[in-house]
C-alpha cells in the first residue's frame, strides 16, 4: 500500500494485520452529503442496499468518530476549507472515497469559465477510492467500499470473483 498521510505513526507488525482486518470490516463513514450523490449514499445505507452487511452502515455525524469520509457531491470553493478541516478532524487511520464525478474531477460542472467549484476532491485531501457516476448507483458505492477493504487488508471479498472472471 502506498504511503499516505492517514497512516498511523506506530506500526505493530503482525498485530497490525489483525487490526486492519477489524478496521476494514467496520468502517464508520461520516454523514456528509454535499449534493445529489448524498441521496444515493443514503439509499445505499437504507433498506434495499443495506451497507450494514459490509459493516459500513454506521453513519456517524461527527468526524471524530469516523474513519471513512465519503465525499458525495460537488465541492464549491466556499465549501473547500470545510472539507479539509473535516478531514483533519478525523482520527487516523482514515480513508476517503470520492463518490461521483463531481468529487473526482468536477464532473458536469467543470468547464473553462467555471468559477465556483473545486474540480476534484484530490486537490484538497488524499483520496483512496474513486467511484465514478453521476450519481453512482448504490451498487457502485458498495463496490467502492469493498475495494477499500481490499486496499486496507490486502485481501478482499471481491478478489475471489475477479480471479474467477479472469
Amino acid at each position: 500500500m502506498e504511503k499516505k498521510t492517514g497512516e498511523p505513526l506506530i506500526h505493530l507488525g503482525v498485530l497490525e494485520e489483525a487490526l486492519n482486518l477489524a478496521r476494514a470490516n467496520s468502517l464508520w463513514p461520516m454523514t456528509f452529503g454535499l449534493a445529489c450523490c448524498a441521496i444515493e449514499m443514503m439509499a445505499a445505507g437504507a433498506a434495499r442496499f443495506d451497507l450494514d452487511r459490509f459493516g459500513a452502515g454506521v453513519f456517524r455525524p461527527s468526524p471524530r468518530q469516523c474513519d471513512l469520509m465519503i465525499v458525495a457531491g460537488t465541492i464549491s470553493k466556499k465549501m473547500g476549507p470545510a472539507v479539509v478541516r473535516l478531514y483533519e478532524q478525523m482520527p487516523a487511520p482514515k480513508w476517503v472515497i470520492a463518490m461521483g464525478n463531481c468529487a473526482i474531477s468536477g464532473g458536469p460542472f467543470f468547464y473553462p469559465e467555471m468559477y465556483a467549484i473545486v474540480p476534484g476532491a484530490d486537490l484538497l485531501i488524499p483520496v483512496d477510492v474513486y467511484v465514478p457516476g453521476c450519481p453512482p448507483r448504490p451498487e457502485g458505492l458498495i463496490e467502492g467500499i469493498l475495494l477499500l477493504e481490499e486496499k486496507i487488508t490486502g485481501r478482499g471479498r471481491l478478489r475471489k470473483f475477479r480471479n474467477a472472471a479472469e
Binding site: 445529489c36 448524498a38 433498506a47 465549501m79 460542472f109 467555471m114
Partner: protein
C-alpha cells in the same frame, strides 16, 4: 453576518455546514442566550455551482441535464418547467400522450420526494425505523422510473416537444401495483409516525407560521398549504394535463410543523389518485411534437413558466435573443423563499426545535445556492 460586540451574555453557535440535520451544506449562525435562540442567520452559498452561468454558456439542449441537478429530489418537475419554457418560445404543441406520461412520471417523482423527506425528517427527530420503511417504498418508485428514464435520481427524461421514449404496459401496470402497495403501507406509517407521542410532542404547536407571514415571505408549496392557504399551481394556474384530473389540495389549519407534515403525507395520496386516473385515461398517439427543429434557436422573446414542485413553486424566466444559447435564465427556486422565513420563526426557540423547524421547511441546499 451578525453584528459583533453585543452584550456578553450572548454567544454564537455554528450549525453546519456539515451537520446531519441541515440536509446538505447549509450553515446557520445562531446567537444564543443559554438554550434559547436570540437570532438565527442562515449562511448560504456552500453548494453554489453556477447553474445560471452555465445556461448562458451552453445550448438549450445541453442545459437540460442540469435541471435534474438543481433539485435532485424532484428532478422531473424541473425538467418539465424548462421544457415548457422552451416549448413556449418555440410555440410547440406537446401531444396529449406525452403530457400524460409527464404527469404520471412527475407525480411518481413527487411521491418519492415526499417519502424521502418523511424518512430524513424523522431521522432528524431521532426516529430511525420510518427511514427504512420510506426508502423501501421509494426504491419501488425508482425501479419504475429507472425503467422509463434510465436513471435513478438525476432524471433527464423530457425533451422539447414531448418525451423521447414511450412507456409500455408493464410500466402502467407497475404504477397501479405501486399505488396498491403504498396504500397498504399507510397503516404502518400511521402506527409508526402519526400516532407516535414523541413525534406529536415535538411537532404540534412548534414553528407556527401565520397566513400573513406566508404572503409576506412569498412561501410556496406545503409551507403555505400547512398554514391553510390552498395555493397549488396545479389548480391555480393549471399546466400540462392537470385540469383533466380530479384531485384535492390538502391544507392544514394551524400552520405548525405537524400540519406541514400532514400536508405532505396526504399529498402522496392525491398524487396516487392523479396517477391512477392518468393510467386509466392515457390516450394512444404520438409522444413527440411534429416539426421540432434540429437546432433549437428560438425567436427573440422572454417567457416565464412555473410548475408546482414538491417544495413549492419553481419558475423559470428565460430570455432569448435569437441565439442558440439563452441570453439569460433565471431560476426561481422554492427552497430559497421558504428558507427566508427561518430567522423570523426561529427566535425564542430551543436548538432542538430549530432542527425540527429547519427540517420541516424541506430545503434542498444546492437548489438554494443554484
Amino acid at each position: 453576518m451578525l453584528e459583533r460586540g453585543l452584550e456578553e451574555k450572548f454567544y454564537v453557535l455554528n450549525l453546519g455546514p456539515q451537520h446531519p440535520s441541515t440536509h446538505g451544506v447549509l450553515r446557520v449562525e445562531l446567537q444564543m442566550e443559554g438554550e434559547f435562540i436570540v437570532k438565527a442567520d442562515p449562511d448560504i452559498g456552500y453548494g453554489h455551482r453556477g447553474h445560471e452561468h452555465m445556461a448562458e454558456n451552453r445550448s438549450y439542449l445541453q442545459f437540460l441535464p442540469n435541471l435534474g441537478r438543481v433539485d435532485y429530489l424532484h428532478a422531473l418537475a424541473y425538467n418539465q418547467c424548462y421544457c415548457m419554457a422552451v416549448e413556449k418560445l418555440l410555440e410547440l404543441k406537446v401531444p396529449e400522450r406525452a403530457e400524460f406520461i409527464r404527469v404520471i412520471t412527475c407525480e411518481l417523482n413527487r411521491i418519492a420526494s415526499h417519502l424521502l423527506w418523511i424518512g430524513a425528517y424523522l431521522l432528524d427527530l431521532g426516529a430511525f425505523t420510518p427511514f427504512l420503511y420510506c426508502f423501501d417504498d421509494r426504491e419501488n418508485i425508482l425501479d419504475l422510473l429507472d425503467r422509463v428514464t434510465g436513471s435513478r435520481l438525476t432524471y433527464c427524461y423530457y425533451r422539447f416537444g414531448g418525451v423521447p421514449r414511450d412507456v409500455d404496459d408493464d410500466f402502467l401496470a407497475g404504477c397501479k401495483a405501486f399505488a396498491r402497495r403504498l396504500r397498504s403501507r399507510y397503516r404502518d406509517y400511521e402506527n409508526l409516525v402519526n400516532k407516535n407521542v414523541i413525534f406529536l410532542e415535538r411537532t404540534k404547536g412548534i414553528g407556527i407560521i401565520s397566513q400573513e407571514q406566508c404572503v409576506k415571505y412569498g412561501l410556496t408549496g406545503p409551507m403555505v398549504r400547512g398554514s391553510g392557504i390552498p395555493y397549488d399551481l396545479r389548480k391555480c394556474e393549471p399546466y400540462s394535463a392537470y385540469p383533466l384530473f380530479d384531485f384535492d389540495i390538502p391544507v392544514g389549519s394551524t400552520g405548525d410543523i405537524y400540519d406541514r407534515y400532514m400536508v405532505r403525507y396526504r399529498e402522496m395520496e392525491q398524487s396516487l389518485r392523479i396517477i391512477e386516473q392518468a393510467v386509466d385515461k392515457i390516450p394512444a398517439g404520438p409522444i413527440m411534437a411534429e416539426k421540432v427543429p434540429k437546432r433549437i434557436k428560438p425567436a427573440p422573446g422572454e417567457v416565464y413558466t412555473a410548475v408546482e414542485a414538491a417544495r413549492g413553486e419553481f419558475g423559470i424566466y428565460l430570455v432569448s435573443q435569437g441565439d442558440t444559447t439563452p441570453y439569460r435564465l433565471k431560476l426561481r427556486v422554492p427552497s430559497f423563499g421558504n428558507l427566508s422565513i427561518l430567522p423570523e420563526i426561529a427566535v425564542d426557540t430551543l436548538v432542538a426545535d430549530l432542527v425540527a423547524i429547519l427540517g420541516s421547511i424541506d430545503v434542498v441546499v444546492p437548489e438554494i445556492d443554484r
